[in-house]
Symmetry: C2
Subunit: 428 residues, 2 copies
Amino acid sequence: MSRRNKQSSETDSAATRRQFLKSSIAASGALVAGSSIAHAKADPAIAYVQDWTRYLGDGVNAAPYGKPSEYEKQVVRRNVEWLTASAESSVNFTPLHELDGIITPNGLCFERHHGGVAEVEPDLYRLMINGLVEEPLVFTIDDLKRFPRKNQINFLECAANSGMEWRGAQLNGCQYTHGMVHNVMYTGVPLKILLDQAGLKTNAKWVMAEGGDASGMNRSIPMFKALDDCMIAFKMTGEALRPEQGYPARLVVPGWEGNMWVKWIRRLEVGDEPWHAREETSKYTDLLENGKARRFTWEMDCKSVITNPSPQAPLKHKSGQTVITGLAWSGRGTIKRVDVSLDGGRNWIPARLDGPSLDKSLHRFYYDFDWNGEPLLLQSRAVDSTGQIQPTKTELRNARGYNSIYHNNAIQTWHLKKTGEVENVEVS
Amino acid sequence: MSRRNKQSSETDSAATRRQFLKSSIAASGALVAGSSIAHAKADPAIAYVQDWTRYLGDGVNAAPYGKPSEYEKQVVRRNVEWLTASAESSVNFTPLHELDGIITPNGLCFERHHGGVAEVEPDLYRLMINGLVEEPLVFTIDDLKRFPRKNQINFLECAANSGMEWRGAQLNGCQYTHGMVHNVMYTGVPLKILLDQAGLKTNAKWVMAEGGDASGMNRSIPMFKALDDCMIAFKMTGEALRPEQGYPARLVVPGWEGNMWVKWIRRLEVGDEPWHAREETSKYTDLLENGKARRFTWEMDCKSVITNPSPQAPLKHKSGQTVITGLAWSGRGTIKRVDVSLDGGRNWIPARLDGPSLDKSLHRFYYDFDWNGEPLLLQSRAVDSTGQIQPTKTELRNARGYNSIYHNNAIQTWHLKKTGEVENVEVS
C-alpha cells in the first residue's frame, strides 16, 4: 500500500492530507471519465484512504435545525434582476435541475411577492369571513387548528411560468424557464368547513380571498371551487408555512394558477359576483391577437419539462448510459403518460413515470438510454388523465398568438451538444 | 373606527404601533378563549388594523435558501444530554408534536451517529462492491447517477425508539418517546441494479454494508432484502441528502431498523454468511428474561403515537371541539386502521386516516371530537396491512420481559388533564 506509506510521511495537518488525497484520487478518477460504462474496476486503496473516516465528525445538534451540505451551495433559488422593477414585487425560481423526486424542499420553493414578505405575528393573526354569510366570523390560528384537517400534495405554478418563452427561446436554464412551480404537502382546514361555519346565503356564488400583505392581494374564487378542494393551509411538508409562502396561513387552490393561492390570508368575503380585481383584469389575463383577452383562465394546463440534462446541468460524460429525467403536471388531474423525443419531436418514446401519482401534483419521469455521443434535440410531452396533450409552441401560438405571457404549457426543446452542454432552442 | 383614530395619534415608531395592536387584540382574543366554539363573531377592525399590512416586507431572495419563521424557533431537534457519553455517538429527536402531514422536513429529521457526521467531499466519494462478485467495482457519485433511479417515501425508525419506556413512563414528550423516526422521499438506484452490475456469485447470500464515517459502521443485509426494495439513495425529499443523513449517499432498507440504513456508504461486500458485526451482536439485539437474546430483529413492528395533544403540546382550550392527531407506521406494509381510546384502552373508536397511504411510510390519523373538559387517558392503536395489531405494554413485557431496549412498539398513554396539560403515564 504505497499510498498509505507515502501519506504517513506527510506532515500531520489535515489540510495537507486532504490535498494529497484529492490529487491522488483525481488521477484515478480519470480512468472512469473516458469510459462509457458508469463504473471502474475496484481499487481497494481508493475506497479506504479517505480523510473523513479517520476523525470524529460533528456530534448531534451541531445544527438543531439542519442545513444542506457546504458542497451544495449552488442549490438555491435565483432571481433575474432585470425582470422586475423592485425585489418586493418580484419572483425567484426553484432550481429544478438540482432536484429529483416530486417534493420541493421548503427552502427552495420559488417566491412571488406583490408587496414583499408580510411579517405576520401568529398570535395577532386573524382570518375573517364576511359578506353573504349568516354570521360573519373571525378565527385565530388556534381556532383553525380545532377544525378537521386534511393533507394533500399539490403543485403550485405561477401562471407566468415559462411566460418569457412565448416569443422565442430566451432564458437558458429550466430553473428560469420552468422554475415558477413547486410541490409540497399541505395540511389545513377544508375551506368548505369554514364557510359552512359562517353559513352561506343562497346567493353566495363567489369568494374574494384577500391577503394580509402590503399589497392586499385579492382574487375572486368561484364557489364551486371553494367548496370542492380548497383549504386554508398552515403547514407545508410537515412544518409551519414558510414566511415567504404565507405564514401563518394561506389559501390552497389545487390545480389553479398560483396567484389565486392568497398568502397571509386575512379575509374571505362571500359575494354574488366576481370582484374584477387588478389581478384578474390588468394582470393574469391572456391578450389574444384580435385584441380581446381571455379572463379567469384558472386551470393550469398539462405540461412537462426535462430537468436533466438542461442548460444548467450539462452531461459530464461523452457517451454511454444516460438518464434523462423531468417533471410533468396538470391542473386537471394526474399525468397518464410522458413521451420523450431525442430528435426535436419527430419520434417519441414512452418515458417511465416513477413515484406516487397524485391528483394535481408533480410527477417524475425518467428515460434511461445509451447515448451515442451525437447531438440531440430533447423534448418531453405529457398527457394528463383527462386526455389533454401538451402542445407544441407552434400549436399554442396558432391558437393564442404572440402577445400572451400566462399559461404557456408548450413543449420545451433542449439542444444537447457533443460536449455534453445544453442550450435552450426552438424547433419549427 | 376609533382604533384607527387612536392609532394615528400614537408616535410613529413601529414598535409603539406593534405594542398597541398587540394589547388591543389580546383583549379581543379573550372573547374567544372562554368559548367552546372555535371562532368569534367578526369584528372588522381586528382583521384590518395590522402593522404588517402597512409596510413593504422583504423582497425575493432575502434568503436564497429559505428558513422557517422567527416565530417557529422552538421547532428543532433536541437531544437528551445524560442519555449518551458523547455527542459524536449520540442521538437527537424529531419534534413530532410540532409537525403534521406525513413528510418530515429535512432540517428536522432526527440524527443518530456512531462517530459524528462524516464530512465527505462528493468529488472524492467512492462506493465499492467486492466479495463474492464476478467483478469488483467502484462507483463515483456521477457514475451512480447514470443508472435507472426510483423514488419512494419511507419511514426510518431507530430500533431504540421508545426504548427508554420499556420499564415505565419516563420521558415526558412524544419528541423524546417516539422522535427517533422520520419519513422522507428517497431518490436513488436500486441496490439490485448495482449488484447485478458486479455479478453475484452463486453462493452470494449476504451483503455487508459499511459506512465511511469514523466508526466504519457496518451491518449484514440478507440478499433477499438487498434484491427486493433496498437502494443507494442520494436525494431526500428532492434535494441532496443532508450531511447528518449520509451525504452524499446512504443505504435505504425500507421497513427495517434504522441502524441498517448505513450512511456515507463506502462499501458493499458480498458474502455467504452474516458478519456478526458489533451492531448485530453487542447492540441491536433484544435480551430476553431467560438470558437469551433475539437477533436479526430487522422489521419494525406496527406502531402509532398521538402527537397532539401530548406533553410538549398541551391543549390551550378548556373544552369543545378538539383535534387529536398522530402517526402510525409498520415495517411490514401500510396501515389499515388506527383506533383511538379516551379512557386508557377500555373503549376504542376508529380514527380517520388522511393523506397518501404508502408502503412502509408514516400514516397520519385524526380523531375530531367534542371534549367535555374532563381528564382523559389518550391512546392510539394501529393495525397494519398484514393484520398485526399494536400491543399493550403489558402484552409486550409478557412476551419479552423488562430487559429489552429495542423494538418497543407498545401503545402509549397520555394523561390529558382538565388544565389541558398532558403527562406521560402507564395504565395497567
